[in-house]
Amino acid sequence: MDFSTTLTINGVTRIITLDDPRVTLLDLLRERLDLTGTKKGCDRGQCGACTVLVDGRRINSCLALAISLDGAEILTIEGVAQGDRLHPVQEAFIACDGLQCGFCTPGQIMSAIALLQEGLAGDDPERVRESMSGNLCRCGAYQGITEAVLKAQKAIDAANRKEVA
């Protein structure tokens, strides 16, 4: 039996036919839509490498059935830059050396983008670390990651002030 689900992925609405309800959002993105920027780490909700935004909220895409998300808007790492212009969080990760091997980085960046939108951490490094604890980095780039989140927060605040002025 085929199942049909409608998802808007990085701004493009697609009607997707699934031959099996077991397909997770992560496997749909990577194996069927060739959006391999989202990474499969543990596949059990423990590492955060698969983090994407669903209706603006960060979740572990490995623990969500694609069929159940019918109607949702999905944002993945492929959808955050505007052409050649990187997202401020991407720029901050590069500037702060917030990575080494890079495998966890798409998940870190998606999680950080959501963290900034949630607006609960402010400029407190402890709150940033706590809020990023669902994203493991086995290279141990945590210090750079925290600095990147704080730097991106400042960059976005400055851009908003400019806009208001």
Partner: protein
């Protein structure tokens, strides 16, 4: 993951009907269930996806000043609801001390209550487990027992219920609203989960096909808002299950404790209410020696289920410290590290 039928009911009535046949399971966020299915621990033949049923995701104020939390309210939405957090701060703190931001965005109220134990032997299909395979034995008894029970356990099962959320809920007399083929009913959360006895595969009072539709907190639960905390000792600062946790809530008038609520997490197969410890506090002024006496009463019946004797004294200290934190007053702002014993001094109290 084994194959299953997928159905997506539009109403509670349809859901209950679809879940009536044996082997059916309700799917909410799936943050626990899909993990268990990937590990071949859970093998549902049919998933009844309740996430598209309207109105189950609401937080409603009731006319009696209680609050009703729909089964599909996401952990993050409840924890970050400003009004809810002001009235039930220990519940918000417990929610924020659990899991990760990603999981809290997905995980639901109903799913949290129905989450399965994190006992490693339950997860390991090569190990004996009376909960997963009744009659096969309990590999945990001779195993690694750091996260296992010290209260209410039996020879057949020493697992714990690992919810943080349920701990303050049970302290605050939460009620679980249930819908099933025989109609609606409700059960106090304290009576919802079963202790293992000789049938650890029966985890709650839910009958086959019944679903949780909401949790209610009575109006009285808000009377503790000025003095309510959740304290959780875990093996790392964030994103870990409790080794031991406690919710403490006090109503203090002119320095005298008029009412007290205490519950523990990580110590039993259900959130553990400590009523005798509560009685010890009534009519007294809270101080370290009183809180210690209450903590001793809370753990009076505790006994190690393996190499976890340290948890008994740890639990006493967690209870005493949670009471001291509650007596000092609910902080104005949620601490950066919710529920953490490493949290910095909590600043200005929120309520006079």
């Amino acid at each position: 993951m084994r194959s299953f039928d997928y159905v997506r009911p539009a109403t509670i009535r349809e859901a209950v009907k679809a879940a009536a046949e044996s082997g059916a399971a309700y799917l909410a966020a799936g943050t626990n269930l899909l993990d268990l299915m990937k590990g071949d621990v859970s093998r549902p033949k049919r998933l009844v996806d309740i996430t598209h049923i309207p109105d189950l995701d609401r937080i409603e104020d009731l006319s009696d000043r209680g609050v009703r939390i729909g089964a599909l309210v996401r952990n993050a939405d409840l924890a970050n609801d400003a009004d809810f957090g002001r009235r039930f701060p220990a519940v918000a703190e417990a929610l924020l001390s659990g899991a990760s931001a990603q999981l809290r965005n997905a995980a639901t109220v109903g799913g949290n209550i129905l989450q399965r134990t994190r006992c490693a032997y339950f997860y390991d299909t090569a190990s004996a487990c009376n909960k997963r395979a009744p009659g096969s034995g309990c590999a945990a008894r001779a195993g690694e027992t750091r996260h296992h029970a010290i209260l209410g356990w039996s020879e057949s099962c020493i697992a714990t219920h690992s919810s943080d959320f349920c701990v303050p809920l049970v302290a605050l007399d939460a009620i679980v609203e249930i819908e099933g083929r025989i109609g609606p009913r409700e059960v106090p959360l304290e009576a919802f989960h079963r202790l293992p006895a000789d049938a650890p595969d029966r985890e709650s009072v839910l009958e086959p096909g019944e679903m949780i539709i909401a949790v209610r907190l009575p109006a009285e639960a808000a009377h503790f808002a000025a003095h309510a905390r959740y304290l959780k000792v875990r093996d790392r600062t964030s994103y870990a299950f409790a080794v031991v946790s406690a919710a403490a809530a006090l109503r203090i008038e002119a320095g005298i404790i008029g009412e007290a609520r205490i519950a523990l997490g990580g110590v039993a197969l259900k959130p553990w209410r400590a009523r005798e410890a509560e009685h010890i506090l009534l009519g007294a002024r809270g101080d370290a020696s009183l809180f210690r006496r209450a903590a001793e009463a809370a753990l009076a019946d505790a006994k190690p289920s393996g190499d976890n004797g340290f948890k008994v004294e740890l639990a006493r200290r967690v209870v005493a410290r949670a009471l001291a934190l509650a007596a000092a007053g609910t902080p104005e702002r949620m601490p950066a590290l919710a529920g953490s014993p490493f949290a910095a001094a909590s600043g200005v109290p929120a309520h006079g």
